[in-house]
Subunit: 504 residues, 2 copies
Amino acid sequence: MPNQWIVVFRAICKHARHAALLQSIADTLEWDERTGMPIAAGDYRAEQVSTLRAMTHEHLTKPCYGEWLESASQAIGDQDPHSHEATTVRELLRDWKRNCRLPVDLVKRMSEATVKGQQIWDVARKADSFASFQPQLTEIVSLKREIGSLLADGGDAYGALVDEYEPGVSVKSLSEVFAELRGPLVHLVAKLQCSNKQPKVSLLQRQFPIDGQRKLSHYVAEAIGFDFTRGRLSETSHPFCTRLGPDDCRILSRYDGHWLPAGLYGTMHEAGHGMYEQGLPRDWYGLPPGSYTSLGIHESQSRLWENQVGRSKAFWTWLFPKAKEIFPAALSDCTVEDVHFAVNAVRPSLIRVEADEATYNLHVIIRFELERALIGGELVVGDLPGAWNDAYRDCLGIVSPTAADGVLQDVHWSAGLFGYFPTYTLGNLAAAQLFATAKQQIGTLDEQMSSGNFGELLAWLAANVHRFGRCLTGEEIVQKATQKPLSASPLLRSLETRYEQLFG
Amino acid sequence: MPNQWIVVFRAICKHARHAALLQSIADTLEWDERTGMPIAAGDYRAEQVSTLRAMTHEHLTKPCYGEWLESASQAIGDQDPHSHEATTVRELLRDWKRNCRLPVDLVKRMSEATVKGQQIWDVARKADSFASFQPQLTEIVSLKREIGSLLADGGDAYGALVDEYEPGVSVKSLSEVFAELRGPLVHLVAKLQCSNKQPKVSLLQRQFPIDGQRKLSHYVAEAIGFDFTRGRLSETSHPFCTRLGPDDCRILSRYDGHWLPAGLYGTMHEAGHGMYEQGLPRDWYGLPPGSYTSLGIHESQSRLWENQVGRSKAFWTWLFPKAKEIFPAALSDCTVEDVHFAVNAVRPSLIRVEADEATYNLHVIIRFELERALIGGELVVGDLPGAWNDAYRDCLGIVSPTAADGVLQDVHWSAGLFGYFPTYTLGNLAAAQLFATAKQQIGTLDEQMSSGNFGELLAWLAANVHRFGRCLTGEEIVQKATQKPLSASPLLRSLETRYEQLFG
């Protein structure tokens, strides 16, 4: 029996790895598409990618594969559920069942609705007209409710959608932790607006030649530990991170000649994602123990490097001389304090992707509440613009004069991504909680960072987060590493402490 | 019957196009591999590519596909053999039969021998030791003879190997045209060495900043007609051209900060290849009418732009002011005549890839004669180094002191590429012959080029070469366009005229 189990287990792994190989090829084509592919090449590229995706789908839905997974799952007995083997079988079976639960026809309708949805959204946003997007969004919400209900098997539809991105997290616990965060954040943001001490943000808008920014980004990514023998930094219009093989992680940044933070923090953010991917067990590439566990944990790694590290005084103590060397014209009359204060500016603003660290989570909480109500049926799409504006007035004290900069600003809903937004804030919360523990356990982290030494922090993250792959859920990782469930306090404390030092 | 023919024809096209799509994906991965892929990513990349190549092979050797081709071929009757439909069936059947003629085991042994061959060659070249390469080369030659004999079906083995790259060309005609070329070239090169007037080559070795070279290369490639909406110029260590879809042609160049011709002519050469690919009937992509007809014709397009255009006085009359603007420090004290003379320097040298336009073909003819003797059995591998040195003494008057810069300099034989070298010189001959006819028919080509207008020349090439795909062989294209069979005279005449003006 154990011998036979091994045979089946190996067949499962081989099958899943072949699917991962096909996926990785499609991902490579998509990376290429976003890094300078000739404009006329789009149609054929779409054909190449969809052929590979269809091959993958066909491969993963072969009946024999489901039978192997069922039989392996029954035979696994009382093995440690967090072992690589048990995780492989459990998670692949979970994926398989999920694939089987959704009728092919529904998946196809959803896919068509979102392709169309993104096109209509794009036009509607340019025309600043929610009305012309409303029918399509109504259709998408209705399909997502149907999908959520099927996945939830009678349970909460929105919860099932969140579970797609953040396995194991309940809407109840999300609501609780977001409620814990919302009030204090609103209060904090309002208070900072009244401070007499304000940063000189304009110094970050001086001229920062792109070539210098490339150099600085590469320098920082390498220093914090992104492994360039197993990865690469390129440029694109919408930065992202993608992994094309066990030793091939691509991060992409974007530079703005008159806004230093875009490129620098874009790179640190993507490098954080990249180091997580590089820290996953490479020999389990293509299988659950070698894959990221949730979007929240992924985002915790990017946010940790971007905000907890990149906006700290210690980090700037190290980087400032180098930045001044690269940009003598822009920074010669500044102090390290000026720059550190400027990158920590807080201003309520309309656009989520341009928001600062404090207000960002308010943007996310607004979307979480609205989409939960939409999927739950308490809010109809026609009332969404009004509800959006009310929420912005409540949380940030501002209202967008246009739909384009309001309810139409994000691509997510048009693409069917309901349940995705909360993972951004989960990531920020986990980043702060993990970083606080790391700092406590390492002891001299500030001193290390001040002298450009980030190795011990990365090793801590590798040991406490990266190495588990999908063997632990996001919640389990945070609990195990910090000995506490995820909560809002560490993030609030970290913001309050930092801002108090800066704004007085 | 005609209706049924259409059904079969469509099935054939669909089948072949799917194989082309898989190939194009593998080619994209290889392009990526050579343009900055992380070093550690090589193993997995090899797995991705070999999976795709195996899928393609499996797809192309399905028995039903062969049956469709046989039946379509019989049903095609007296259709014009150069029509797109007849060409599709004839050429795909040719490819199919070729694939079937070689036993799988032999293909596998050949593949293993050449993978090993290239590794051993690499080490042997670094160690400057022909002896350590000799056993493997002996094995490769023996396998190639076997393959050649099978493909020739009892006929001349070397001829069958040449036919792989240059369909329809006989070894006899190659020998004749090369013999026509060899004597006059040897004489011309010797004569130029004695001239009192010699170019100042050193001016091309001044400092030419890489960024400026990139700009110049892009400027020239765009001006001569490479379509950047359907293509892209990147950098790599060994320049090449590859097509990743109907509207996605990638050319790659390499820049040397102290040798202007490397980047400029590398780019023009690859852009010439690229414009041929861009001129093939795009709607027949993935099928013979949309594919290049032979390596010789491909090379004729690269050489035409590199040498016939790029080394002409008219071209430099146009480009010189721009080059001076980009490289004021390097070129301020030069005249257009100085630069034009310098890019036309002639010097017998040891290394083929660094050879000038006049001596290049002698390097190729040496290889053609040696490899023909090896495959024919008149020369044994053990005698190759001596024969190599004798040939260099004869043709170029120089002998390499090392095997590394002599018989071991090229990768081709270690990779099993016998019959490939002649296509380089066929390309040079065809380039000169086509260009002479184009010049005659266009009339004012020199005036057009002097003012940076290359559109009429490109249109002539598109109409007389590109648009035929595999509907015509290389020989047929040259005959139809120039009303003469391929001969050595146009190349010799073009070199003699240009050099007479320069060297006096």
